[in-house]
């Protein structure tokens, strides 16, 4: 039937049919709802739109930027796991990574390589290459630890990967793992025994190890010495029978640390001649001031030292009444709240040996008042005098 129809159609009929079809189309278009063309790029922003279009864009979209729908579509074609084999996918990501790497966008390159690694394509060569490239990108970002880890992963997939071995050596060196760096150098030198760079790196490692080990030994020796000194200090305190607050059962160095900032770094110490040197506080309750004495030798007569301190009247002593021979010195037992009068003709050691003297905060402290002054009387009222 169709054949017959075709045969019977004359030229005139054909023209007529064409004209009719034209008219139908015309009618159809005219019959469409009339609305202005709105999907095109607006004139004021066409350049921006053009930039976004994947065919015309001049630079790759930044990470996190909203993608043009066309771009998204293209990406899906390239990256959709349903459309690509794992190996193709990995290759696509690697290519992306390499592109970004070439343009020094190392962070983007790392993202791409990571995506490629996530595919787990199963091809050792590809896996090694992805890890090695990510290692390189990390290296340029100075992420030496990550770069080393990636180089080592690359070596798992391909043990004789020269680039990865070299980078593993350099990164190990950068993060001060010199022994490891030497191992990688040797690994590389096994294959290329006279590679100058590997030889030089190896030598730098050997030298660095020497210094590092020397410094470690030095530090250790210093520590041992300090420990010995500290042990001796504690021993001497015990021998002298001096009471230290908090040190009744086992005396520790912490009990000897001065609490006041003025005396920090002046913990009691043993001089070379075996004499203890104390940090000491003189308190003047009348004026609410204190003197901090950093080194008070235990064999000094207390009065002599006091003399030195009060010799030229302190500025707060406007009335010039704090004369050494006209003052009384006390110490306080904090647990019993008792005051004890001090004989200033004794040495510091003899005073500290007093059964009731308990040294608080590693710092002996003394209360100094003017003899028979109203200040002394009112101060003493607060205490029991022993």
């Amino acid at each position: 039937m169709a054949n017959q129809n075709k045969k019977t159609m004359s030229d005139a009929e054909r023209l007529e049919l064409a004209a009719k079809l034209d008219q139908d189309l015309e009618d159809f278009i005219n019959g469409l709802e009339k609305k202005p063309y709105s999907e095109g790029w607006p004139e004021d922003r066409w350049e921006e739109e053009m930039e976004k279009h994947p065919f015309f864009m001049k630079k790759a979209p930044e990470a996190g930027e909203k993608l043009h729908p066309l771009m998204e579509g293209l990406q899906q074609l390239k990256y959709d796991p349903n459309e690509n084999t794992p190996e193709d996918l990995a290759a696509a990501y690697k290519e992306d990574g390499n592109f970004n790497f070439k343009h020094k966008n190392y962070r983007l390159a790392i993202i791409a390589y990571t995506e490629g690694i996530k595919v787990k394509c199963g091809n050792n060569e590809m896996e090694a290459s992805l890890h090695n490239n990510r290692s390189a990108a990390n290296y340029f970002l100075k992420n030496y630890r990550s770069a080393l880890r990636d180089a080592e992963l690359a070596l798992k997939f391909k043990p004789d990967y020269d680039k990865a071995i070299t980078r593993a050596a350099i990164c190990s060196f950068e993060i001060n793992q010199y022994e490891k760096a030497i191992e990688y150098c040797d690994c590389f030198l096994n294959k290329k025994p006279d590679d100058v760079q590997a030889l030089q790196l190896r030598q730098r490692c050997v030298n660095a190890i020497k210094i590092k080990e020397r410094d470690l030994r030095k530090k250790k020796q210093l520590e041992t010495k300090n420990n010995k000194v500290e042990e001796e200090l504690l021993k001497q305190l015990l021998i002298r029978g001096i009471n230290i607050e908090g040190g009744k059962d086992s005396l520790k160095l912490e009990c000897l640390e001065p609490h006041v900032p003025e005396l920090a770094n002046h913990r009691v110490c043993l001089t070379e001649s075996g004499i203890l040197q104390w940090p000491v506080i003189f308190m003047y309750p009348e004026y609410k001031v204190m003197d901090f004495i950093q080194c008070f030798q235990e064999d000094e007569i207390f009065g002599d030292r006091m003399h030195q301190v009060l010799e030229s009247y302190p500025e707060w002593d406007t009335e010039k009444k704090y004369m050494p021979n006209k003052t009384n010195v006390y110490f306080e037992n904090h647990s019993t709240s008792k005051l004890y009068k001090v004989d200033v003709n004794k040495t510091l050691l003899d005073i500290l040996k007093h059964d009731e003297y308990i040294i608080r905060g590693g710092t002996p402290s003394f209360i100094i008042l003017v003899q028979d002054s109203p200040a002394e009387r009112s101060f003493l009222k607060q205490y029991n005098i022993a």
């Binding site: 040797d186 030198l189 030598q203 050997v206 020497k210 210094i211 080990e213 020397r214 030994r217």
Partner: protein, 369 residues
């Protein structure tokens, strides 16, 4: 006795009866402990060839016993000679040529050593150490190694790598092997190749605590290398920095004052309390001899002096009980404490010793050894 040995050899070839092979090997191993029997075995070329081929036997016990017998045979100089002569016999006999490799017996032994999965690597190292010890065979062994197309590089790599062998073979006897090999200038030339990192890789082992064999081997190798005067400057330079490595085993935990300490190489500074000296007097002697060799040229003597070598030797001398080592120490100190004006000679090796003095020296050495 000879007849008995000949009689048991055929049992070794009963490939379908590994139990018989094993028992036979055990008997031979026991006999090989006896010097007389060993002498007879050395003459049995067939036995040697069979033992060599049994090294590759799939039964570990059979292979191991063969290796142990070969250790005993090679320890005897005639046995070593006979083993090395096998190479000629193999080359002449087409049947044997098929069964063995060019360079055998060295090839088989080296292959076992270089194979990281081989369970016989250690006895093979011992055989090689025995074969390389007699100086008269050394060049022949080197020829065979080169024939095998195995490089010294490969041997050193295996030796310096930590835990190369995966089957618990520790290859310590490669130390003496290397020390023996380095008696030859060919090998020294390789070890001292300035473009490669060989001697540098050996240095850390002068303090190798796990094995006196390996440590002694390395120090022997270094001592041998120190006879090459033209390399002294390089050996002492930063590129190798051999001196601290030779001095460290001679130092203990002695604390020096700041000035002396600062002058010492950093490796010798602040040594810990548990640092002890090398326990083997022969090794201490080798270390001292090596440093003495390095003192040949004026420039190097000055460098060795500037590193405060003297204080280490002074402390060693106070402590040393071994006569030979004490003498070696004194000889070295004698050079170091003299000024260059007093020495008045650039190369100490150029000094001609008058025959009467030489006689006296020999006398002293004889008395002390």
């Amino acid at each position: 006795m000879e007849k008995q040995i000949q009689e048991i050899i055929p049992f070794l070839s009963q490939d379908d009866r590994p139990d018989i092979q094993f028992i036979t090997l055990q008997n031979i191993l026991a006999l090989s402990g006896n010097a007389e029997c060993l002498k007879l075995m050395n003459q049995q070329e067939e036995l040697l060839i069979t033992l060599l081929s049994l090294l590759k036997h799939s039964n570990v016990n059979i292979a191991k016993n063969s290796a142990l017998i070969l250790v005993n045979i090679s320890a005897d100089i005639n046995g070593a000679d006979a083993l090395l002569k096998l190479n000629n016999s193999i080359n002449k006999n087409d049947l044997l040529k098929e069964r063995f490799h060019v360079g055998d017996p060295i090839w088989s032994i080296l292959k076992s050593i270089l194979d990281s999965e081989n369970v016989l690597a250690d006895p093979c190292c011992m055989v090689l150490s025995n074969l390389t010890r007699p100086k008269q065979f050394l060049e022949l062994v080197l020829d065979l190694i080169e024939k095998c197309e195995i490089t010294y590089e490969q041997i050193v790599n295996v030796f310096t790598k930590n835990k190369y062998n995966q089957k618990g073979q520790n290859l310590y006897y490669l130390g003496p092997v290397l020390s023996n090999l380095s008696q030859s200038a060919r090998v020294r030339k390789y070890i001292l190749n300035k473009d490669k990192c060989v001697v540098q890789r050996l240095l850390p082992f002068t303090e190798f605590e796990d094995s006196v064999i390996k440590r002694g081997g390395v120090i022997g190798t270094l001592r041998n290398c120190c006879f090459e005067t033209e390399y002294h400057e390089w050996l002492l330079s930063d590129e190798v920095d051999i001196l601290p490595r030779l001095l460290l085993p001679l130092a203990d935990n002695t604390e020096f004052d700041e000035e002396d300490n600062d002058k010492l190489p950093s490796e010798l500074q602040f040594l810990p309390d548990d640092k002890t000296r090398e326990g083997d007097p022969d090794i201490r002697c080798m270390l001292l001899e090596a440093i003495t060799q390095l003192c040949a040229l004026r420039k190097n003597r000055e460098s060795i002096r500037s590193k405060n070598t003297y204080v280490i030797l002074r402390e060693l001398h106070k402590w040393e009980k071994d006569k030979k080592s004490l003498l070696a120490c004194e000889n070295l100190v004698d050079i170091l404490i003299r000024t260059e004006e007093e020495i008045g000679e650039d190369n100490l090796k150029d000094v001609e010793v008058p025959p009467d003095l030489q006689e006296k020296f020999d006398q002293v050495i004889l008395e002390n050894s």
